[in-house]
């Protein structure tokens, strides 16, 4: 029995009819980037791919020649590589932590943001995890990093923070990947049903035969809730343990009790900045203007402002305590970074992390998409410098002046660093081609009366309002 035209018109006038049209549009809008490829996308893939290739070439050269092609020396054994490691692990705090907290708080505006954020986390950890493999010089022996007992006569030292890193990063990578994958299963099923050929086959496997029964939805939501509860303390522990790589050693300005929270704060700070930047780019390139709205940037901008002030608070505490203690070994490092060799970098860091973003983010009229993206860009630069300034000045000015050294990065290290950014961009771009960057089913939940979409009129709800309440309905009439 077919519906009459009158029935269809009635349906369209009822909220349910409008919701269905919105659901259809969400489906179309969010699947479109997967099935169509723009010229800009190809250019972005080419550029990031070239950066990755350059990194591969530099790494090949390093393997062939030896790790002496890096600028590291005695006493600066850690430099660009560990800076990159700490930086990328920090960036990884964007996604899972923010996404988990917003999920637990049931913040409805999180829906378009979470997947963008969770993807950043997974790719950042992967990149961060690759860097120690480069650093060890002989990556084919990388499996020696895995601590299994009494094999090959090597005894894992459970008292070493580097070993804690292994467990922390393993747990975080497993948790983040699961946290990203689980809510993607229904979307893979949607792609499976909308595609043909090879893509259909892949999505069939990745969707695990998802149907969408009430039992499956219910189990998925519980699993996501458990994951959100578990992942927050894991995320905090990961960067705390990364900070212990430094603070458990008796190196001037490293042996500090506030390094744990200082690192976690810095990680969340840089993570939010990376998220805002990624969202701004996705919004532009994938035409997600109706989904990633100014409200999201405004809310994340406020969070970024808070983190900027918190970062300054920790930096100030750290420096003030050192200055007040006035021990010669620590003051040598202190003055190196404030007034001497590293001063340009230090003040660039302060400008990038505080002087530029705070005025932009404190005024509502500047807390726009462009404003938050500019602030985020400077913060990314500032936070990379911050990681560098934590590591290098302390190492090249250790306790005994005769062992002081100077570190200068080489082109190999520069290339590897640039390549890590290229790899992040490339992985993100390829991911956006395989998976909707905004969860389709979660957006549809937002259209339900209790989901904060169609009934709620609060402007704070960041569902695609234009789509649901004001947007023009497509002219075609459904059968």
């Amino acid at each position: 029995m077919q519906k009459t035209v009158e029935q269809i018109e009635q349906d369209l006038q009822r909220p349910t009819g409008r919701t269905q049209r919105a659901a259809e549009r969400i489906e179309q809008d969010l699947l479109r980037p997967i099935f169509t490829t723009s010229g800009k996308y190809k250019v972005a893939v080419a550029v990031s791919g070239l950066l990755v290739l350059a990194g591969v070439a530099a790494f090949g050269y390093q393997l062939y020649t030896g790790i002496g092609v890096w600028g590291i020396n005695s006493p600066v054994f850690w430099a660009f590589d560990i800076t990159n490691f700490v930086f990328w692990i920090g960036i990884s705090h964007a996604g899972t932590l923010i996404s988990a907290i917003l999920r637990l708080c049931n913040a409805t505006w999180r829906r378009p943001v979470t997947r963008c954020a969770e993807a950043i986390t997974v790719f950042s950890i992967v990149i961060g995890g690759l860097i120690p493999l480069c650093h060890i010089g002989r990556p084919w022996l990388g499996y020696w990093l895995i601590p299994y007992p009494n094999q090959r006569g090597i005894w894992p030292n459970f008292r070493s923070p580097l070993l804690w890193d292994f467990f922390a990063i393993l747990t975080y990578l497993t948790g983040s990947t699961t946290f990203l994958y689980l809510p993607t299963i229904p979307d893979f099923a949607a792609i499976r049903d909308a595609s043909t050929g090879f893509r259909k086959k892949i999505c069939r496997i990745l969707s695990l035969g998802w149907q969408g029964t009430p039992r499956q939805w219910q189990r998925l939501e519980i699993a996501m809730h458990i994951m959100a509860i578990a992942i927050v303390p894991v995320a905090v522990s990961v960067h705390t343990i990364v900070s212990w790589d430094f603070s458990m050693t008796l190196v001037p300005m490293w042996h500090s009790t506030i390094f744990g929270p200082y690192f976690v704060t810095g990680a969340i700070f840089s993570g939010i900045a990376a998220l805002i930047l990624a969202m701004a780019l996705l919004r532009h390139f994938l035409h997600l203007e109706q989904y990633l709205t100014p409200l999201h940037f405004n809310n994340l901008g406020k969070l970024l402002l808070t983190m900027s002030l918190l970062w300054f608070y920790f930096t100030f505490c750290e420096r003030l305590t050192t200055w007040y203690g006035n021990t010669p070994d620590e003051m040598a490092v202190f003055w190196q970074s404030i007034r001497l060799h590293f001063a340009p970098l230090f003040w660039t860091m302060v400008i990038c992390n505080l002087i530029i973003p705070v005025p932009i983010l404190s005024m509502k009229r500047f807390r726009t998409i462009t404003g938050t993206a500019i602030a985020s860009s400077t913060i990314i630069v500032g936070m990379w410098i911050e990681r560098f300034l934590i590591i290098v000045p302390a190492l090249d000015h250790k306790f005994l002046p005769f062992s002081w050294g100077v570190y200068r990065p080489t082109w190999v290290e520069d290339t590897l660093m640039a390549s890590s950014f290229g790899m992040m961009a490339l992985l993100y771009l390829l991911f956006s081609k395989a998976v909707p960057m905004i969860s389709i089913w979660e957006m549809k939940v937002g259209l339900q009366p209790h989901g904060g979409g169609i009934i709620t009129t609060a402007p704070a709800i960041a569902e695609p309002h234009g789509l649901v309440l004001e947007g023009p309905l497509p002219t075609d009439v459904p059968e």
């Binding site: 009819g17 909308a194 039992r215 699993a223 549809k444």
Partner: protein, 176 residues
């Protein structure tokens, strides 16, 4: 598998269809477990969706966390005790540093158990006979009966139409 089903525009009418099928199942000789409900998004606050609510996965996650903690403890303690190491009076198995690894493995245990619980509870992966209709992804809710008796198919159709469906469709059981 053969499924007779109809698509409903909103959860209220889907709930009416489910109620009608529940009421008719003994008369039409099918089991309640043969009722199929599929949607493109979760629906809360309706009997058909809430009937599967359970707190059991939380308990399993805690159990998984305990297993993870036990593994962490055994890994750190047994390994270190097996070393022929002279520690100069320091504890052979230090509680503080071992605790960090035990903590990480506790969380890993909880995470992996949550994943396993989902897969088992949601019966995934399951590639056979995936029921699908493109309109599900456009917001419709599928309600139907799997493998109804030949004799009761007409009544099932009437049941589905009576709840407000526009038409009744049939899924032949061919997996994608």
């Amino acid at each position: 598998m053969k499924v007779l089903y109809a698509l409903y525009a909103d959860p209220e009418t889907a709930q009416r269809a489910v109620d009608a099928l529940h009421a008719a199942c003994s008369e039409l000789n099918f089991d309640e477990r043969q009722i199929v409900i599929i949607s493109g998004e979760p629906h809360e606050g309706y009997d058909f969706a809430d009937s599967h609510i359970t707190r059991r996965p939380y308990g399993w996650a805690v159990f998984g966390a305990a297993i993870g903690a036990g593994c962490g403890y055994l890994l750190t303690t047994l390994t270190q005790r097996a070393y022929p190491i002279f520690t100069g009076g320091m504890p052979l198995s230090p509680m503080w540093t071992d605790g960090i690894i035990v903590y990480e493995l506790t969380m890993l245990g909880a995470i992996l158990t949550a994943l396993i619980t989902l897969l088992v509870g949601a019966k995934l992966p399951n590639f056979k006979g995936v029921i699908k209709d493109p309109e599900i992804w456009l917001g419709k809710i599928l309600v139907g009966v799997a493998d109804p008796l030949e004799s009761s198919q007409q009544d099932v159709q009437e049941c589905l139409l009576g709840a407000g469906a526009a038409e009744v469709k049939q899924f032949s059981g061919v997996s994608d």
